[in-house]
Amino acid sequence: MAILEVKNLTKDFGGLRAVDNVTFRVEQGEIFGLIGPNGSGKTTIFNCINNYYPVTSGNVIFKGKDITGWKTHKVCHLGIGRTFQVVKPLSRMTVLDNVTASAFCRSGTIREAQSEARKMLDFCSLLDQKDKLAKSLPVGGRKRLEIARALATKPELILLDETAAGLNPSELTGAINLIKKIREKGITVLIVEHIMKVIMTISDRIHAINFGQTIAEGTPSEVANNPGVIKAYLGEAYAQGERY
C-alpha cells in the first residue's frame, strides 16, 4: 500500500513555478530517493508535503487520507517527521531538551518524554552529548540531532533532507547506517540527497526532477543510465557519450 502519494503537485512562488505537476508514490517500508540539481524543487516538495508551504495545486495523500493543506503540526501528529536541509537546532536548549520537546508529541509526562528522548539520542549516537547546548554541536552532530528530533515524534514516514551533506567520509558511512537502521525500525524513508554514494546505495527507487519537473523514476541503475538525468547532473557532453 502506498503510504504517501503526491499527485500533480504544483507550487508557484509568484511567477516562478518551483514544482510543476509532480506525481509519485512511496510504498510502505521502502527508501525512496528524490534527486535533482540544486534548485530543482526537491526541498519545496518536502515543504509542500508537510504544508510548511501551502500547495498551489495538487494533492498530498498520506495513508489514504488527503492531507493537502493540513497544518504542519497536525501533519507531524499524523505520522510524518521531517528534517531540514539547513539544520534548525534549538540552539540555546540542550541536546536532550531538543529531543524531549519533540517527544512530547507522543508522550504526556516529562519523564516519559525524556526517556523517549534518551532512546532516540542513543539510536543516533548522541547520548554522550545530551547535556551540551545544541549550538555547540558540529555539523555532523546537528544533522543527527535533526534526525533524532524527527524520530522522537514516532513517525511512520520520515522526510530526510540532505542529511549527509557536509559530512566527512567516516561520518558518511555512519549516516548511511543510520538511515538503514531507521528503515529496519519499520519507518518509510523519503530522502533528498546529492551524494550519489548515499542515495544510489540505499534507495529502493528514485525519482529525479529538474526545474520542478519529473525527468525519471525507477531503480537506482535505471535512473543513473537515463540520459535526461545524466544531462541534468553531468552536462550535455556526458549525455552524448563523450569521454574526457
Binding site: 504542519t72 503540526h73 520537546a101
Partner: protein, 319 residues
C-alpha cells in the same frame, strides 16, 4: 540548598519589611518595585521565554487599571473587583491582539504591539464618556495605611513568579522555548505554535492586567497618559526584563528592584544630594545601562551572574 536558604531569607525580609521600615516613602518604593516584579515577569514569559518581544504591554496594564477604575467610577462597584475582572479582560484583549499580531514575527511583532499600546491609549483618551478621558479616574483609597497594599502586591508578585516557574518547568516551558529558538522547527516537531504563543500571551496579559487593577486601587488615580504609556509602562517592562535577565525566573525580579531604585535615585536627584538637573537624567542613565547590558551582559544580571562574579574577582585580584 544554598538557593533555598537565599529564598527563605528573601521571604523573611520581604514579609517583615513594612513592619520594620515604617516610612511611607520607602514602603511606596517597595510596592512599586514589587509591581514591576509582576509586570516584568509577565513580559518576560512572553518575550524572554517565548521569544515574542512585546512593546505594548501597557495595553494590558491600562486595561486592568481602567477595568478597576470604570467599575468604581461608573458602576459604583468596589475597585477591588477590578483585580479579578481586569485580569480576565486583559486576557480577552490579549487574544484579539494575538490574533492580529502573531502572524508577524520579530521586529514586526514588536512594532505591531507598540501600535496596539498607543491605540488603546488614544481610545482611553478620546472615549470620554467611558473613561473620563484626560481627566482620569479618581477613587477613594480603601486603606489609609500602605501595609495592606504592600502585602497584596507581595502576594501577587509571589504568585506571578511561582506560576511562571511552574509553567516553565512543564511541557509548556519546553514548547515556549522551542518556539523562541525556531518557530518553524517547532511546528514541524508537532508543536501547535499558534496555540502556545497564545497561551503564553494569556498568562502574560492576565498578570499584567491584575497589576494594572492593583495600581488603580493603590494610587487611586489613573489617566491614559500614565497607564497606557509607552515610556512609563511598556518600555520600562522591557528594561526590567533586559537588565535583570530575560529568560530567567528571578531576572525580572532583580531587574525591577534595580530599575525602580535607579529611577527613584535620579528623580530625587540622588535623594537631594546632587544638583537639581540630575532629576531629568534618568532616561539618559537607563539608555546607557541598556547599552552596557546588551554589550557586556546580554543575559542580564541574573543570567550573566557567573560572568559578573569572575570580573569582580579579576578587578579585586589585580590590586
Amino acid at each position: 540548598m544554598k538557593k533555598n536558604i537565599l529564598y527563605a531569607l528573601a521571604g523573611i525580609i520581604f514579609l517583615g519589611f513594612p513592619l520594620v521600615v515604617r516610612s511611607d516613602y520607602y514602603q511606596h518604593l517597595l510596592i512599586l518595585a514589587l509591581l514591576w516584579v509582576i509586570i516584568g515577569s509577565a513580559w518576560n514569559l512572553l518575550a524572554g521565554y517565548t521569544g515574542q518581544v512585546s512593546f505594548g504591554h501597557a495595553m494590558f496594564f491600562g486595561i486592568g487599571a481602567y477595568t478597576a477604575g470604570i467599575l468604581a467610577a461608573k458602576f459604583q462597584v468596589s475597585a477591588w473587583w477590578g483585580m479579578l475582572f481586569g485580569g480576565f479582560l486583559a486576557m480577552l484583549i490579549g487574544l484579539f491582539v494575538g490574533w492580529v499580531c502573531f502572524r508577524l514575527r520579530g521586529p514586526y511583532f514588536a512594532l505591531a504591539t507598540l501600535a496596539g499600546g498607543e491605540i488603546f491609549r488614544l481610545i482611553a483618551t478620546n472615549w470620554e464618556s467611558l473613561t473620563e478621558g484626560m481627566v482620569g479616574i479618581l477613587i477613594i483609597q480603601s486603606f489609609r495605611s500602605k501595609l495592606p497594599y504592600y502585602y497584596i502586591v507581595l502576594a501577587l508578585a509571589f504568585l506571578c513568579v511561582y506560576v511562571i516557574h511552574v509553567v516553565m518547568k512543564s511541557k509548556w516551558g519546553y514548547y515556549f522555548v522551542s518556539i523562541r529558538e525556531d518557530q518553524d522547527a517547532a511546528e514541524s516537531m508537532g508543536i501547535n505554535t499558534a496555540l502556545y504563543k497564545n497561551i503564553s500571551l494569556l498568562i502574560s496579559s492576565f498578570f499584567t492586567g491584575m497589576a494594572g487593577a492593583f495600581y488603580m486601587n493603590y494610587m487611586a488615580f489613573i489617566d491614559p497618559h500614565v497607564v497606557f504609556s509607552l515610556h512609563y509602562i511598556s518600555i520600562m517592562a522591557i528594561l526590567v526584563g533586559i537588565v535583570g535577565g530575560v529568560a530567567t525566573i528571578t531576572g525580572p525580579a532583580v531587574g525591577a528592584f534595580i530599575m525602580v531604585g535607579l529611577q527613584e535615585t535620579f528623580r530625587s536627584a540622588f535623594f537631594g544630594l546632587a544638583p537639581r538637573w540630575t532629576s531629568q537624567a534618568h532616561a539618559l542613565v537607563f539608555g546607557l545601562l541598556v547599552i552596557f547590558v546588551i554589550l557586556f551582559l546580554s543575559n542580564g544580571i541574573v543570567g550573566d551572574w557567573p560572568k559578573i562574579k569572575r570580573n569582580i574577582l579579576r578587578i579585586g585580584l589585580s590590586r
